[in-house]
């Protein structure tokens, strides 16, 4: 599968862009701020339906215009798959998948497997738990559609409960909070077990991926919660087994949640971690080890998606090579010859691969 065409209207810095990339390797060369990453962001948006920079939708609209539009056509053996998104200023975005509204957004992500390597991937290791949860949840949604639906429903129930706490505070109707606690406990137990199962599945892939970028140590996952402590091998993977624990923890926290007007505990606050030879990768690893582990995480995601779909995912490499030594770059390059690839760089000679070169300047890609 590959992206055959991309159209942008009033998206980020682009007033209008019609881009017909090569099915193989595409290298976008341009100065910083020329708009290379915006093109990658748009391609990523068509698959994940959110910005890989974590930007809110409103930030994607070219300033001073009423709506941004991203459209793209992907070619597969079975024909073209089209994704179209219109993001109006201050309104609800409209998503069309082959001309129809998709049942769930994760349906789109599942159909269009894609992995992005980003300049701040090091934050997966150095940063807080949010980035690691996002990494895990994104893979779950791409690998297991039903589990992806559970994640989306948990998120929705959480936003509803938080909205109730924020609007009503301590005056909130106790029976209504009970109901949202029930929903959060039921969906949260599923989210928790989906995550543990994903980590079980991806742990050996991660260990192997880490070695391809020069790591020689043992890389392992940990998973810590505030509502039951640390999860391990002996923790049940049955989605029905943690409902009571989450509900009890929520009710024990009720007063504090009412006071802080938000849900202070649950899978949305869990902390997945990584250990390198029994050291915490966040605080006790070298910069080099962290960089290898971050690459390992992305490569593992690529491998997992490749296995699931029996075809290579699309690959986005945003200004990745400037930071890599030849050994680590080699690990990434191993992925290149398979599927469609988009690489951005400020310096053409920095990217050690053949492929179609595109110059990005002044809002045009030629």
């Amino acid at each position: 599968m590959h992206l055959a065409w991309l159209e942008l209207r009033d998206f980020r810095s682009y007033e209008s862009l019609d881009f017909r990339p090569d099915p193989g390797v595409n290298v976008l060369v341009g100065h910083n701020g020329a708009g290379k990453t915006n093109v990658l962001e748009a391609i990523g948006y068509l698959s994940a339906l959110r910005s890989f920079r974590g930007s809110p939708d409103a930030a994607l609209i070219r300033s001073g215009t009423p709506a941004g539009i991203v459209r793209g056509g992907f070619e597969r053996e079975s024909g073209e798959v089209r994704v179209e998104v219109e993001i109006p200023e201050g309104g609800r975005r409209r998503v069309l998948f082959n001309g129809k509204r998709p049942q769930r957004f994760s349906d789109v992500a599942r159909e269009l497997p894609l992995v992005a390597f980003l300049p701040d991937d090091l934050d997966l290791l150095k940063g807080g738990p949010g980035g690691r949860r996002q990494y895990i949840d994104d893979l779950i949604a791409r690998l297991h559609p039903a589990a992806g639906a559970d994640l989306a429903e948990y998120d929705k129930a959480l936003r509803q409960r938080n909205s109730l706490l924020r609007n009503e505070g301590p005056a909130a109707d106790a029976l209504t909070i009970d109901v949202w606690d029930d929903r959060l406990a039921d969906l949260g137990s599923r989210v928790f077990t989906h995550r543990l199962r994903l980590l079980d599945r991806i742990a050996p892939v991660l260990a192997a991926s880490y070695r391809t970028v020069g790591g020689s140590e043992e890389l392992t996952f940990t998973y810590t919660t505030q509502w039951m402590g640390a999860a391990g091998k002996g923790t049940s993977r049955d989605p029905g087994d943690h409902i009571d624990a989450i509900r009890d923890a929520l009710s024990a926290r009720r007063m504090r949640d009412l006071d802080q007007k938000t849900t202070t505990l649950g899978p949305h606050r869990d902390d997945p971690g990584i250990r390198i030879d029994d050291r915490d990768a966040r605080t006790q690893a070298s910069q080099g080890e962290q960089r290898s582990a971050a690459l390992g995480l992305r490569i593992a995601a690529y491998r997992a998606l490749e296995n699931r779909h029996d075809r290579p995912p699309m690959l986005l490499l945003d200004d990745v090579f400037s930071e890599l030594d030849p050994l680590r770059a080699g690990g990434v390059l191993e992925l290149l010859p398979k599927g469609q690839v988009f690489v951005t760089t400020a310096r053409d000679d920095e990217v050690p691969v053949a492929g179609r070169r595109w110059a990005v300047r002044g809002g045009v890609v030629t």
């Binding site: 129930a157 509803q160 109707d173």
Partner: protein, 197 residues
């Protein structure tokens, strides 16, 4: 911007659910070319709707009388109530021919994000009917969404202490959808296989 009468119609049409700016323009320009008699018929049917249709004083279904035809039908079982979010869900459930009780229209689902809590729904009216009509079972036929499920759970917590059996449509409905998208067979099975809450 168009001539004032055209623009006014576009603005009105665009306020309807499921109609965006572009569809509103298309409809307005279509209406511009229809026969005057057709235009009058369309306009007066909208006005008649407002004048002649009101909500059933018992179940809040749409009706042209004080009570709707279902509430007035003495053959229907008053001890079983099917609680739905909106009046348009009633014909969908009627279409399954699996239900012979009465209905209660809540007027929505619990959704704090939209400022909708139990007080914004017809919960008090529902509780009043339990005693008045001797209701023994309430079927929560809310939509299979996060908000619909929460509303069903709320009904269970509210009504069980009153000695009412509360059941929910069996799963099998498309998740995240509306009842009126479910086909009659699926919905009929969900009614027959309803589960205790």
């Amino acid at each position: 911007m168009f001539e004032a009468p055209v623009q006014r119609l576009i603005d009105e049409l665009a306020r309807l659910p499921g109609i965006g700016r572009k569809s509103a323009q298309r409809l307005a320009f279509h209406l511009l070319h229809i026969e005057e008699a057709d235009a009058v018929r369309l306009g007066s049917s909208i006005i008649d709707l407002r004048r002649e249709v009101r909500l059933c004083s018992r179940c809040f279904n749409v009706t042209s009388d004080e009570e709707c035809s279902i509430c007035r039908d003495l053959r229907r079982d008053p001890t079983v109530l099917c609680v739905v979010e909106r009046a348009q869900d009633i014909p969908v459930i009627e279409g399954t021919q699996e239900f012979s009780g009465r209905y209660h229209v809540l007027g929505g689902a619990i959704s704090p994000i939209e400022g909708i809590g139990p007080d914004q729904l017809r919960m008090r009216e529902l509780v009043a009917r339990i005693d008045q009509e001797g209701v023994a079972e309430v079927i929560a036929a809310t939509n299979p969404t996060v908000e619909g499920d929460a509303t069903a759970l709320y009904l269970a917590r509210l009504l069980k202490p009153l000695g009412v059996r509360v059941t929910q449509l069996a799963s099998g409905l498309p998740v995240g959808g509306d009842l009126d998208y479910a086909d009659e067979v699926t919905l009929g099975r969900a009614l027959v296989g309803r589960q205790e809450l």
